[in-house]
């Protein structure tokens, strides 16, 4: 039982990361309708920034904060400069543009900061508690705490402020929002900016224990894509729930299903396939009705 709970906690810890990145993907998708392949690489670049600041003896938390602010501005700039000109293009063109960004950001980060493995200082002490034989590491607690904080802030921002109202209006119907005077362009920039900032935070926290290199975010991105699809691309709640499900499913199968040794990924993706067969737009996604 203790082992089960330990693995459950580990799963929730890694799930919290997938949930954060999936949340970023959903924010971008809700506003601009784009599946952002470059989300992970944007987070990677932000994490390099954190490393850069800590090298210049900035305290870690302040470095993360600085990186988040720069990412916020950078995300808005990417939307304005790179995405806006092709906003009306076919989804396939948009996918290719984000793939181009994926390649470009990844290689620019490595050229700028060097392609050796970087060790980030931890932002918090590395401890493990054992209440009743269940291992709980400070990593898990911090990741889950950060995820909860993100959710709370997003909830308050989107549901309790005028900006949030405008943001939701743009997400649901850009044409009509423009007619009633909502600055649609600025809201799209906000979506990208928030996504980039969330990615920066998640990246900095998850990479610190394992070391930073060029391919650090790619596996996480795949899992986050899976989580976003499972939750339904237009639902922030879905992204969080599905992120946790994917994380837990991953660790539990590694622990208990020896038949799938070396093919752990079969389980999360099998799960997703099953869910999508029953609910084609994810657990929490909204259905579209088509007229002829």
């Amino acid at each position: 039982m203790a082992l089960f709970l330990t693995q459950l906690m580990n799963g929730i810890g890694s799930g919290a990361v997938y949930a954060s990145i999936a949340l970023a993907l959903v924010l971008v998708f809700r506003t601009t309708g784009i599946l952002n392949f470059a989300q992970g690489e944007m987070a990677l670049y932000s994490t390099y920034l954190v490393w850069f600041f800590t090298q210049r003896s900035v305290p870690v938390w302040i470095a993360i904060l600085l990186a988040m602010i720069i990412s916020f501005i950078g995300g808005a700039a990417i939307e304005r400069i790179l995405i806006r000109p092709v906003e009306q293009a076919s989804p396939l063109v948009l996918v290719i543009v984000t793939i181009g960004m994926f390649l470009a950001i990844n290689s620019i980060a490595q050229v700028q900061f060097g392609n050796d493995i970087k060790i980030l200082p931890r932002a918090y002490p590395n401890k493990t508690w054992l209440p009743g034989g269940v291992q709980i590491s400070s990593d898990t607690l911090v990741l889950v705490g950060v995820l909860l904080a993100e959710c709370l802030i997003l909830y308050l921002l989107l549901n309790r402020t005028r900006i949030g109202l405008a943001f939701r209006a743009v997400a649901s119907n850009p044409e009509s929002s423009r007619l009633v005077g909502v600055p649609v362009g600025r809201m799209l920039m906000l979506g990208w900016a928030m996504a980039a900032a969330i990615g920066a935070l998640a990246g900095a926290l998850v990479i610190a224990p394992v070391g930073l290199q060029g391919a650090s975010m790619q596996e996480i991105l795949v899992y986050s894509f899976a989580a976003a699809a499972l939750g339904g691309f237009d639902s922030p709640l879905g992204a969080v729930v599905a992120g946790l499900i994917v994380g837990v499913a991953g660790t539990l199968t590694t622990q208990y299903l020896h038949a799938v040794h070396d093919i752990e990924l079969v389980v999360p993706f099998g799960l997703i396939l099953l869910v999508l067969l029953v609910r084609p737009s994810g657990l929490f996604g909204s259905r579209r009705v088509e007229r002829v």
């Binding site: 390649l103 290689s107 752990e264």
Partner: protein, 359 residues
């Protein structure tokens, strides 16, 4: 009168281009280039073949897949295992690969019917991620002693030599690999040309443009989509077989399968979605851009000296930026956009000539 003449000119130009293409691709490249370059052209061709299949699915049928690297891998492993452990010749493996990848394509295509758009893209991504894990687990590594994990070893040299029935101008393994891939590419392009103009091709486009409307005019949407999926899987699988001849091994890692899937998609879009030759052009660009960048990129920009290792790191950035710029300028790809520009030029020329007469 003028319309006839324009048609004759157009046919003449097309014929001249065809002759030139036959000479360059059929003779000049394999006979005069060094071995490495011939292999590189063969690589461009098989990427193009896989992209052609993906174009049938994505360009003509509107289903986006970022998992065709898995079908490519399936073909690659099937051919490699049959050649290595069962002493088959390359050509004998092709029908098996074609049937197998078509069959697996049908199996995957059925559940794919339920999910659309981005969700489908994500399900296929799962395919790309799973494939290397499956090969890692189930393909025995001891097919060769020297190679690392997740590789089916270097093929013995004897099998890479051209078979005895080939004409005498195919002497070396690189030429055999090139001509085999070229033949497959030509067959693929002719088949695609015929498919697109057939009743089935029209049905593909109708389903892409408006699924519900297509259904009301009696198109069996499910069948069309599944066959499109399976056919594109077949193209990818056969392209994977060519990989074995060109690279002389079979290998799959989660990174390489994902990258291949992305390369196919990129080749489709930069060549031109829903054009017959576009993906082949895209494949050539995808394969040669890296080499072109490393060879002709300046080694100093202003005061910034760029050494070779930095250049290697930088080359994806240049490719990525080029990709973004291309999407701004020619969102319908090189072939699609080029055709659009030429057509509008021709039209304005014709209007310029005929307008004084008609007024």
């Amino acid at each position: 009168m003028t319309a006839d003449r324009a048609r004759i000119i157009r046919l003449g130009v097309a014929f001249a281009l065809l002759i030139a293409a036959v000479y360059v691709f059929g003779w000049y490249i394999p006979q005069f280039y060094e071995q490495g370059t011939t292999y590189l052209w063969a690589e461009a061709l098989y990427i193009g073949v896989a992209a052609m299949g993906l174009n049938l699915l994505t360009g003509y049928n509107g289903q986006v897949s970022i998992g065709h690297g898995a079908f490519f891998g399936l073909g690659m492993y099937t051919t490699a295992i049959l050649m290595q452990s069962h002493d088959w010749s390359f050509t004998e493996t092709l029908p098996v690969v074609a049937a197998l990848s078509f069959g697996v394509g049908v199996l995957v295509g059925f559940p794919a019917l339920r999910v659309k758009g981005l969700y489908l893209a994500l399900v296929t991504l799962g395919l790309a991620v799973l494939f290397p894990q499956l090969t890692n687990r189930f393909v025995p590594h001891d097919l060769c002693k020297t190679c690392g994990t997740s590789q089916v070893g270097e093929l013995r040299r004897v099998k890479l030599l051209p078979p005895s029935w080939t004409p005498t101008f195919i002497k070396h393994p690189d030429q055999w690999a090139y001509y085999a891939t070229l033949t497959i590419a030509v067959i693929g392009i002719v088949a695609l040309f015929l498919i697109v103009r057939s009743r089935f091709g029209r049905a593909l486009i109708a389903v892409r443009d408006h699924e519900a409307a297509a259904e009301t005019v009696g198109i069996n949407v499910a069948r069309v989509k599944v066959i499109a999926f399976a056919t594109s899987a077949l193209y990818a699988g056969v392209a994977g077989s060519c990989f074995v001849l060109v690279k002389r091994l079979a290998t799959a890692s989660s990174v390489s399968v994902f990258q291949l899937s992305i390369e196919f998609l990129v080749a489709v879009v930069i060549g031109g979605t829903a054009t017959v030759v576009g993906p082949l052009v895209g494949g050539i660009i995808v394969v040669f851009s890296g080499r072109w960048i490393s060879e002709s990129f300046p080694s100093t920009i202003l005061f910034w000296h760029i050494n070779d290792s930095v250049k290697n790191l930088l080359s994806p950035a240049i490719f990525g930026i080029g990709l973004i710029l291309l999407m701004y300028v020619l969102p319908d790809g090189i072939v699609g956009g080029g055709r659009r520009i030429v057509n509008s030029r021709l039209r304005s020329l014709r209007r310029g000539k005929t307008s004084p007469a008609s007024t």
